[in-house]
C-alpha cells in the first residue's frame, strides 16, 4: 500500500499532491453507489480531462493518496470517499466539488448510528471552502437537507411516481422528520427512504430539484432509460445498467459533472457509454456459462439488487457469499433486514458460502425456502463450482457476494483466466 507508506513518511503529502491538480478535486460519498457514481463520472469526464481516480474502490485517506501518487499529470482528482472518512478528506483535499448521494444504515459496528454520520457530514459541509460546489440527493431527507447549508447547492432527484413502491421497505431509515420527529409522508418512495417526502406536521419537505430524472423505462436486467432534465435542457439517456438505484447514480454523476462545467450532450453520451463498475452488476463469462455478480453489503443495497433481479426475470440458481471481515461488517444481522423472499420465490437452489454461510442458509430457511434446496459450501471456489454445476449450459448464475467475498471470487475467476484482475483493468 504505497498510500499508507506515504501517509506515514510524509503526513502532509495528501494536501500537497491534491493542491497540485490544476483543476482541483471532486469527492463523491454515499452509503450505496459511490463506486458506480464515480465510475460514471469518470466516463463523462475522461474524453476531455485526465483524471486521478481511485477506481478500485480504495476510498480511505491511504487509497486516495495512492491514486494521487500514481496519476502525475492529471488535471482533475475524482475520488469516491468512505462515508466516515469524508470529513477528514474534505478538510485535507480542499475539494472543488462534493457530491453526496444517500445515507442508509450500514455496518453499525463500524460506522455507528446513521444520525452520527449525518451530523459529521453536516459539519464537513459547513467547513467546505466557500467556492466549493455542493451536489446533493434531494430525495434523501438527511442528505437533501444539507442543501440548506449552502447557497447554490445543486439538488438532484427522481420525479416519476409510476415507479414508486407501495410501502416503505422494512429496513427504511430516516422515516421521521428531521426537524420535528413526526413520520414523513411520501407522495412517492423510490428506493428505500429515497423519494418525494414531506412532513405533515411542520412542513419540512424535499428541496426543489435542479437535475431530475423523468419518464423512466426499466428494461429488466438489460438497462434503464430516462429523461435527464437539467432545467433549461433535457436528453433521453439509455443506461446499460439496470434498476432505479442506477438512475440515482446516473443523476449524481450528471449533476456533479454539469456543476463542473460539462455540457448536457457530454453527460448523456458518457452515461450511455458506461458499463458496470466492477462487482456491481458485472457479467463474467465462465466457459459456456455466465456469472452475474451483484455486490451486496447492506439492506438497502441488497433490496435493490433483489428488486432488479426479480423484475428482470432472474435466473434460477443463486450463490450467496457472506463474509464477516471488517470491510463486510462483522455483524451479519443485516441479512435478516433484507427482503430476500421475492428472490427466493423464484429460485430452485441456493448455494450459501463464505465465512458465515450457515447464517445465510438460516436466513433462507426461516424465510420459507425449503432446507433441502439450500446447500452450504464453505470454501468459495468449491461453492462456485457447485453453483456452476447447477446451472445448465448457456445459463446464468447469480452471485451475491459481500465485499471481501467479491474480491476473493473475482480472484478465483481471474486465476482461472476468465477476467482481468481489477488492478490491470483499472489502469
Amino acid at each position: 500500500m504505497p498510500g499508507k507508506v506515504l501517509n506515514a513518511l510524509d503526513p502532509d503529502a495528501l494536501e500537497r499532491l491534491a493542491a497540485r491538480l490544476p483543476s482541483g478535486s471532486a469527492l463523491i460519498s454515499a452509503t450505496n453507489g459511490k463506486t458506480t457514481t464515480a465510475a460514471m463520472t469518470a466516463e463523462i469526464l475522461s474524453p476531455t480531462v485526465r483524471l486521478a481516480h481511485n477506481s478500485s474502490g480504495a476510498n480511505l485517506v491511504s487509497g486516495i493518496a495512492a491514486a494521487l501518487l500514481s496519476s502525475r499529470g492529471a488535471d482533475v482528482g475524482l475520488f469516491e470517499v468512505d462515508e466516515a472518512a469524508l470529513p477528514e478528506l474534505a478538510r485535507r483535499v480542499h475539494p472543488r466539488a462534493v457530491c453526496l448521494g444517500n445515507l442508509f444504515r450500514d455496518q453499525l459496528d463500524r460506522y455507528g448510528e446513521l444520525e452520527l454520520v449525518a451530523e459529521r457530514w453536516r459539519t464537513a459541509v459547513r467547513e467546505l471552502p466557500p467556492e466549493a460546489a455542493l451536489v446533493v440527493n434531494g430525495d434523501d431527507p438527511q442528505v437533501g437537507d444539507l442543501a440548506r447549508e449552502r447557497e447554490n447547492a445543486f439538488v438532484f432527484g427522481i420525479d416519476d411516481p409510476r415507479h414508486a413502491v407501495e410501502a416503505l421497505q422494512h429496513a427504511a431509515d430516516s422515516k421521521w422528520c428531521l426537524l420535528c420527529g413526526h413520520p414523513y409522508e411520501y407522495s412517492a418512495a423510490y428506493v428505500g427512504h429515497l423519494g418525494d417526502y414531506h412532513c405533515p406536521a411542520c412542513g419540512h419537505r424535499r428541496p426543489p430539484l435542479d437535475v431530475v430524472a423523468r419518464d423512466i423505462d426499466l428494461r429488466g436486467l438489460e438497462g434503464v432509460d430516462f429523461t435527464l432534465d437539467a432545467g433549461d435542457d433535457d436528453r433521453r439517456v439509455q443506461l446499460r445498467v439496470p434498476g432505479l438505484y442506477n438512475v440515482y447514480n446516473a443523476l449524481a454523476a450528471a449533476a456533479l459533472t454539469l456543476r463542473l462545467g460539462a455540457d448536457v450532450d457530454g453527460v448523456a453520451s458518457g452515461l450511455q457509454r458506461f458499463d458496470a463498475a466492477f462487482g456491481r452488476f458485472e457479467r463474467i463469462d465462465v466457459g459456456d456459462r455466465r456469472l452475474l455478480v451483484l455486490l451486496v453489503k447492506n439492506p438497502a443495497g441488497a433490496n435493490e439488487a433483489v428488486r432488479t433481479l426479480v423484475a428482470g426475470d432472474a435466473p434460477r440458481i443463486a450463490l450467496v457469499a457472506l463474509n464477516d471481515e471488517i470491510a463486510d461488517g462483522r455483524d451479519v444481522s443485516w441479512i435478516w433486514d433484507v427482503d430476500w423472499e421475492p428472490l427466493l420465490a423464484g429460485l430452485e437452489h441456493v448455494v450459501a458460502t463464505g465465512e458465515r454461510a450457515a447464517e445465510m442458509a438460516l436466513r433462507c430457511k426461516y424465510g420459507g425456502f425449503p432446507a433441502e434446496r439450500i446447500e452450504v459450501v464453505g470454501e468459495l471456489d468449491a461453492a462456485l463450482d457447485r453453483g456452476l454445476e447447477l446451472v445448465p449450459a448457456g445459463g446464468e448464475l447469480v452471485v451475491l457476494p459481500t465485499y471481501t467475498a467479491m474480491l476473493a471470487l473475482r480472484k478465483i475467476v481471474a486465476d482461472r483466466g476468465f477476467v482481468q484482475p481489477y488492478w490491470k483493468q483499472a489502469a
Binding site: 446513521l114 420527529g181 462483522r330 455483524d331 435478516w336 433486514d337
Partner: protein, 250 residues
C-alpha cells in the same frame, strides 16, 4: 390449532438489529409444531392489554428512535410488569433491554425513566462495546447452555444485587464489560444485549420462550419436540468461535 399471541412493541421504531428475524424464528418454530403465532404490533398510543398476549417482544433502535418511544414505553410499564408477573413470556433485546430497566442515564446526566420491569439501570458510557459475544446460561434448570450473539452498546447496565443475569460471559463484554454477567432474567422475561439476531443461532432459547408462552396460554407446558437444527448448530458454532477469537476487544 393452538394460537399463541405475540405483541411486538414499536416494530416501526425498534428494529435496528434485524429484530424481525427473532419474530420469524418464533413464528416458524411454532408453526413446525402445529402452533400458530399471531403477531400484533403495539406502538405509540396503543393500549397494551395485560392479559391479551402470551409473549412480548421489544427490539433495539438508534438513539433517536429510542428517545421517540421511551415516554410511551414507560407509560406501559405497569401493564408489562403485571403481564410478566402473570406468566407472559418476554424477550427484550439491546435497546429494548435497556428501556425495560428502571432508567437510562445519558451522557449529560439526564435520566430517562424505563418500564421498570428488570431490576437494573443503564448509564451511557464513553466507549462502545462491539463484537461477538458468547455466554453460558442456566435458564434451563440443571443445564448449562451457551448463547452466541453480537453486541453493540455504549450503555453499561448494572444489575441490582438481587437480580439474576441471563448468563455468565465466556467471551465478550456483557452488561458492563466488568461484572462478567450478561442480560437479565426475571421469571418468564429475558433481557439481553445479544442480537445477530439472537434466536436463529440459539434455537433452544426460542423454544424456551415458546414453552413459557404455551404455559401461559394453556396453564401447563407441553414439551416441544426436537427439530432438525443442523444449520442452527453450525451457525452457533461459527458465532461462538468468532466470540472466542475476537470478542470483548475495544
Amino acid at each position: 390449532m393452538t394460537e399463541l399471541r405475540l405483541a411486538h412493541l414499536y416494530p416501526e421504531y425498534l428494529n435496528i438489529y434485524a429484530d424481525r428475524g427473532n419474530i420469524a424464528v418464533l413464528a416458524t418454530r411454532a408453526a413446525w409444531r402445529g402452533l400458530e403465532l399471531a403477531v400484533e404490533a403495539v406502538s405509540v398510543g396503543d393500549e397494551l392489554r395485560r392479559d391479551a398476549y402470551d409473549l412480548l417482544y421489544v427490539g433495539g433502535g438508534q438513539d433517536r428512535e429510542q428517545a421517540l418511544i421511551a415516554p410511551d414505553l414507560a407509560a406501559k410499564g405497569e401493564a408489562i410488569r403485571e403481564a410478566v408477573a402473570a406468566g407472559t413470556a418476554a424477550l427484550a433485546v439491546c435497546g429494548g433491554y435497556q428501556l425495560l430497566g428502571r432508567f437510562y442515564r445519558d451522557r449529560s446526566g439526564a435520566e430517562q425513566p424505563g418500564a421498570g420491569l428488570f431490576p437494573l439501570h443503564t448509564v451511557a458510557g464513553d466507549r462502545r462495546m462491539i463484537g461477538d459475544c458468547l455466554i453460558e446460561s442456566d435458564l434451563v434448570a440443571g443445564e448449562r447452555r451457551t448463547v452466541a450473539g453480537f453486541e453493540n452498546h455504549a450503555g453499561t447496565t448494572r444489575l441490582d444485587p438481587d437480580a439474576r443475569p441471563l448468563g455468565r460471559v465466556l467471551a465478550g463484554f456483557g452488561n458492563d464489560g466488568e461484572s462478567g454477567f450478561e442480560g437479565c432474567r426475571l421469571g418468564t422475561a429475558i433481557g439481553t444485549y445479544l442480537h445477530g439476531p439472537l434466536l436463529p443461532r440459539n434455537p433452544w432459547l426460542a423454544d424456551w420462550l415458546l414453552e413459557r408462552a404455551l404455559e401461559h396460554r394453556l396453564g401447563e407446558a407441553p414439551e416441544l419436540g426436537e427439530l432438525p437444527d443442523d444449520l442452527e448448530r453450525e451457525a452457533h458454532l461459527v458465532a461462538a468461535g468468532r466470540a472466542r477469537s475476537r470478542g470483548g476487544r475495544f
